[in-house]
Symmetry: C2
Subunit: 296 residues, 2 copies
């Protein structure tokens, strides 16, 4: 029996010394120069070639990657082969994989999504999946069942990183996002690991430092996935409330600021895209370091 | 320039004389007997072979099919090829395609989902996509933009068909689902067709006849997709509030009661699975007929 997701997660974060997650948002039109020609003729093959070297660089700094299903889907069926390859290659390099699909449906359809990404399907197994909770308890239950059975993790959307997230997520009193947070905490108590943390996580935008303390209070044992660092404006200042004194409790995710490092003027002096990614990721790790083990 | 989705939709419903939608939820373990052996060795190929004949039967009765992305994903990358084939084959038979993906994300990721299914991608274009609105206005905007550009349709989840839908969808006052409904109606006014109806639709469970009048009041020009007819317990009685006097306004969707007609005892007397599907679908069309042109 594999360890629970959350125990594997914190072990990996401790080993790498960083809670940084790299989002894989493959955009053939933004690949570094060596892949541009191939991207024109066979975008999915270009993405796969890019990932194989990229993941070597990523694995030096980060414990976790987060493939974004949408960008693979936009490449059509060849994109699904590129996604399977990315998951496989990440796992070969010892990286944990959070599949960012924001899936959600009911009954046997929800089970099918959970099995597709966390269970037995034609895709290599991911370690965790992001899930949209709008459809309710019974709709989220099949995801919980599969996660339990497979030792996998889930990250339910609670408060997303976009400026307009509040339209529905702040509706009512308490705001809907707080109601979802309480429910996520309750679900989490069914999947508590040896560390006391749960394998049921929550997504809260890294762009919302002012709300983190409240969400941490509502979800004391819930790993928080904080996307939107970097390009979307999220900064390390203020993310501290998500971490405990050992530097555990949250993952900080960035995508474009790392993947497209070759487009960054401040890194243009470096000789190739691998060194640009390496520098961008090293810089992010340094920015995030004060959050970890800072005695909070 | 293609006609707006909603104008194509009502023209097709009128031509077929029925608002019935058949959900394509391919489950290799539930395929009719002729496909069982192939389903063991190559599930996606078995599904494709099944669909090609199934869609001939479906096209006799229905104007619209609704492939369910989850079940294709559960087959891994070969499932994505089977999905592309199903979309293509449906369109070749003159069927409109609503891709049931319940997708939702922010910014460029939302655009990638919209382009994947409604725009230019490796998949044949679907006519409409189901979208989860939890992430807010700015997150739904890229879907609206692509739908506008491509003459496509959207169906936002408002109130789903599962028993526990109310946990979050009824939160607050007014209930969240009503707030979402009002927003969907507002978005819809940006995509109004020649018929006065909008290409922006809403999903409301066929299991909720008691709530339909209220949602129709909040969304007077919104096509309603009513899933859950048949297997989930939805019946024609009480769905009338969703239709106007011309029999337009809503689509009634069933999946398992049609797809798995060969497993139904009441149809066991028929000689083969095609005739069983034909009978199941003919029966559903008859059940739904009173909703159309009934002078409401």
């Amino acid at each position: 029996m594999t360890a629970l997701f959350v125990d594997r997660l914190w072990a990996a974060v401790r080993e790498k010394g960083s809670p940084v997650v790299v989002g894989l948002d493959p955009r053939p039109d933004h690949l570094p120069p060596p892949f541009a020609a191939l991207a024109d003729s066979d975008p999915a093959a270009a993405v796969t070639a890019h990932h194989r070297t990229l993941l070597d660089v990523v694995a030096k700094h980060a414990a976790v990657v987060k493939p974004q299903a949408a960008f693979f889907e936009a490449m059509g069926p060849p994109g699904s082969i590129a996604l399977a390859d990315a998951i496989e290659c990440a796992r070969e390099r010892g990286l944990l994989v959070i599949l960012d699909g924001k899936r959600g449906d009911i009954g046997s359809t929800a089970s099918a999504y959970a099995e597709a990404w966390l269970g037995k399907s034609g895709y290599p197994r991911s370690d965790a999946l992001t899930v949209n909770p709008y459809l309710g308890e019974d709709a989220c239950r099949p995801f919980l069942d599969v996660a339990k059975e497979r030792g996998a993790g889930l990250f339910f959307l609670v408060k997303t990183s976009n400026p307009g997230a509040g339209l529905f997520q702040n509706h009512g009193a308490p705001p809907l996002a707080e109601k979802v947070a309480s429910q996520v905490a309750a679900w989490g108590r069914e999947l508590t690991g040896a560390s006391g943390w749960s394998s049921v996580g929550a997504v809260v935008g890294a762009t919302r430092p002012e709300e983190l303390a409240r969400f941490r209070e509502l979800m004391p044992e819930t790993p928080l996935l904080l996307p939107g660092f970097g390009f979307q404006g999220g900064k390390a200042d203020g993310l501290g409330a998500a971490f405990n004194s050992e530097g555990l409790g949250a993952l900080v995710s960035a995508s474009r600021s790392i993947l497209w490092a070759h487009e960054r003027e401040d890194l243009a002096h470096l000789p190739d895209w691998e060194q640009q990614v390496d520098a961008a990721l090293g810089e992010m790790v340094e920015q995030v370091r004060p959050l970890c083990g800072s005695g909070r």
